[in-house]
Symmetry: C2
Subunit: 557 residues, 2 copies
């Protein structure tokens, strides 16, 4: 079996102008970035609205396992599957972060016959958006420390600066650092740290902004810390938002690439769904919905994180409404949730598979009963899956009254997702569903978190340490109590404990930290031991990556 990078490299690409033309984007409104990538021009996309009758499909999944589920693979497969049955479809996806590319997970542009191309470009710098976002973020950080150094006119309390710096890297040694050492010419010593860029509030703002003006206004609202008089200090107070917007102006234009089968994919913005809001940019989703009949978008990790944030944040802010959801599952993941160890996942085990379906059952419940979406379960078939396991899975899903399609797009491309595509077409025939949010704006911040924890995660309660409670009270006193919340927690479990598989109930959601994202428009609750700067594993994926004399890259997967 060839590797993903080999399959992608062996697949000829269409000129990107032809891809654009498939959904009616004129050639003079796109600009190439290298031979196979493009950006759609910003004046063209600014203010672009969903076209009447276009359908938005949300791809989400069961709780992730080491075996991998194939969410992006299924998103790409579904776009190609819709094209296969004669529909016009486009993907709206996040850009991969280089942290995981060099760390554990590898690339994030699909796999097998369901990939985005140019795969190596997308997984590395792509069109430079993440670099622009990091630079804008770090410019604000530098201006904060420079303000302290140059007389501190605003009276910023160095102990109360909450805005950190970012890199697109898994680099745990930067989580907790002391800066400004070495004497008076080197700034004011204080504790700080780096997050990964996908956790940056600038990333969230970039993904939610609908125009340059909206972007600038939101950037100006970022609260970086407090003064000695405990007044909030914003990016606008520091005069940083104009230059930050200038750094992001080119990046705000959505990127256009293609699937291996030559269908359009907008790949733009990329907050993680565990530590951030997990959705690609609004400009990309809106541009796709203005052109394609079907737009397939993915929200990261399991539905408890990705779909919840897609609905409670992106849909709440923008008025976007999905027409249906695909819930991606694998036999291997179900077995893992049923207690099987990673090394035994390729051996048949129908009982464990059945037991692990508790995980998908809860996600299915949330999607259908809590949020009110029509759902098709997409079983991403692997070679090791046995007929007995698949039959038991299908039986289990059908017993829950849901539709399931067994998909083979990894091996077969769009043809392998044609059944899923047809099922989605049928699922949306009842018209746009009435989307429910998990919680109302009117609840307190803590009540919102409680609502998510008890409704979506199956938790019994939430625990908030006194220092965090004090911080929350301050945010409410400052007028931020009406904001929605963004939970940062492990993607691996409904609980804050990675090891708790399946569908645990009655647990306690432990809040560790709370962060205001006033520009993005939400309050982040960091739960359990989740880190907003990941570390590298013992054998980083970077060590296998290489490039030959002609510049061909190997070892990306």
């Amino acid at each position: 079996m060839p590797t993903d990078v080999e399959i992608a490299a062996a697949t000829p690409m269409l000129p990107i102008e032809e891809i654009a033309a498939k959904i009616g984007i004129p050639a003079n409104e796109i600009f190439r970035y290298g031979p196979h990538k493009a950006k759609v021009s910003l004046p063209y996309v600014q203010g672009m609205q969903r076209r009447e009758g276009s359908k938005l499909i949300l791809v989400t999944a069961t709780s992730p396992t080491p075996a991998g589920e194939g969410k992006t693979t299924t998103t790409v497969g579904l776009v190609d599957g819709l094209a296969h049955i004669g529909e016009t479809a486009a993907a709206a996806l996040r850009e991969p972060s280089m942290g995981p590319v060099f760390g554990m997970k590898g690339g994030a542009a699909g796999g097998g016959k369901s990939q985005l191309n140019p795969m190596t470009d997308i997984n590395l710098h792509f069109t430079g958006d993440f670099a622009s976002i990091a630079e804008a973020h770090n410019l604000l950080a530098a201006l904060i420390d420079n303000h302290l150094q140059q007389g501190n006119e605003l009276g910023i309390d160095p102990r109360r600066i909450t805005f950190k710096r970012v890199l697109d890297m898994n680099d745990r040694a930067l989580r907790d650092i002391v800066i400004g050492l070495g004497g008076p010419t080197n700034g004011v010593p204080r504790e700080s740290g780096f997050d990964i860029v996908v956790a940056s509030e600038v990333m969230a703002i970039f993904c939610l902004a609908t125009s340059i003006d909206d972007l600038k206004e939101r950037l100006g609202r970022i609260v970086v810390g407090h003064t000695y008089d405990t007044e909030p200090v914003t990016a606008a107070d520091l005069g940083a938002h104009g230059a930050m917007t200038a750094l992001l102006a080119d990046a705000l234009a959505p990127n256009l690439v293609q699937t291996l089968e030559g269908n359009p994919a907008f790949v733009h913005g990329g907050p993680f769904a565990n530590i951030a809001h997990g959705c690609n940019s609004v400009t990309a989703t809106n541009t796709a919905l203005a052109h394609a009949d079907w737009v397939v978008t993915e929200a990261g990790f399991g539905a408890d994180l990705g779909a919840e944030k897609f609905i409670d944040l992106k849909c709440r802010f923008t008025g976007l409404r999905p027409d249906a959801a695909v819930l991606v599952a694998t036999i291997r993941s179900m077995k893992y949730h049923g207690g099987v160890t990673v090394t035994d996942l390729t051996s048949e085990n129908v009982d464990a598979m059945r037991s692990g379906m508790s995980n998908i059952e809860r996600h299915l419940h949330n999607l259908r009963e809590v949020w009110g979406l029509p759902v098709v379960v997409g079983l991403n078939r692997f070679p090791s899956d046995t007929d007995a396991e698949i039959a038991a899975f299908v039986e289990g899903i059908e017993k829950l009254g849901a539709r399931v399609e067994v998909c083979t797009h990894f091996s077969d491309g769009g043809a392998g997702a044609a059944g899923l595509a047809r099922a989605i077409v049928e699922a949306t025939e009842g018209g746009t569903p009435d989307l429910h949010f998990t919680y109302d704006d009117g609840l307190t911040l803590v009540e919102k978190v409680e609502k998510i924890a008890t409704t979506i995660y199956g938790a019994g309660s939430i625990a908030i340490p006194p220092a965090v409670a004090k911080q929350i009270a301050q945010f409410e006193a400052e007028g931020y109590g009406h904001l929605p919340v963004c939970i940062a927690k492990t993607q691996k479990s409904f609980t804050t404990d990675d090891a708790m598989r399946g569908a645990p109930s009655g647990h306690v959601l432990e809040v560790r930290e709370v962060r205001l994202a006033a520009g993005a428009g939400f309050v982040v609750f960091v739960c359990g031991s989740l880190m907003t700067m990941p570390g590298l594993p013992k054998k980083p994926a970077a060590l296998a990556i290489d490039v030959d004399s002609e510049g061909h890259i190997t070892g990306l997967f």
Copy 2:
């Protein structure tokens, strides 16, 4: 008078394929990055050699002053001037760093009627090369700390790691930091810091590499620190060089843009000349020399830094030989070197101007007598210059037996540099000069620094603290004694003291620190108080930068 950004925005650009065609680069060998930028394809440029008969002109200058000299402006003006007199010319320039763009200096793409376009793109992210370089650099840094964290198989001594991290930002608070705090999951605590990306050894390697293979081999040679047994540890020992090269493979293709008059400019790589070797990439220079009859390249800051490194490093490594040099000067700079305060520079002061010419006299001596180059002095005329001042300047230069041309390209574009262009054509009619290096490879590291200090800077001696001497002895014991040296020192003076204008003599060059750049192939001697991470000024240029609703950027200068 319109601002630089207004002039650039009002100047229509030719399609970049037309620019390429002017010097015979086929359209299918360039790839657009956005509407007006391109990269020349890497397979096309790899191994490209200078075309027989092509001429290489080095633009350098007097010691920089707050008044500005206009080196890039003159480089661009000379290219347009050569085109004006019927020659085929291209520029080979460095990419601007965003540190100065947001800090004090502003943009670095020329000025007035002698600019590169698209000016705002070039001054901000451009094609993302600096971001790729920073990411490759920081990947190695993350792999070092991860190695410590994951068992430290190589036995790296955390106290002896010399490889820092980088950002493209002026951020003094990151100069001296402690990382790895917060307990066992956050890495091994140790002292470290950030440099600006233009000081990165990866930047130097990127600019010196002649192919992907050469790039990878050099990256692998980077020494990141030492083991507990005081053995050097390289990037190759950590297995980092393959992934680092993959990150740089796209970036290694040179960027092509245009002057306001539609002549080609290769803008690629950008080490500073005060803290690094100060020359654009070898791939860009070679690509330019393979296509254009005249290639005008700039080496940063005064000739003591830029030209010295161009000759002793870039020319030594590559075999490149310049045919002549332009020494850029202004009346205002001469007055500043003659002791006039910044606020009085626009008032006529012939005596001070004459006195300040001691500065240009020494640079002229170095270029002609030490290095053996034909030189034309280009006086970059400003509106405040008086006829008496100019007459005295011309007389002073002619008395030294050199040719001088008064240029008005800032106001008049290429027509204003036609005289300079003609003078350069004449200066090269004697054939390729016999270039002399400042020192031979066979000298010891300290002797090389002494040679530069006494010959080029007019110093009486150099001072090396005992700890630095020990470090130098170690480098020599490890077999690096044959390498050439790269002096990091203030650009503002021949001494290490910013305030010493003109041409001081007999001073002591104070070495503070020494750094091995084994991959780049030189040893860096950091002198005086020069910082490899600049700080922002009290009123950073960033605060004036803004962008309107349509994405048009203002406030860049």
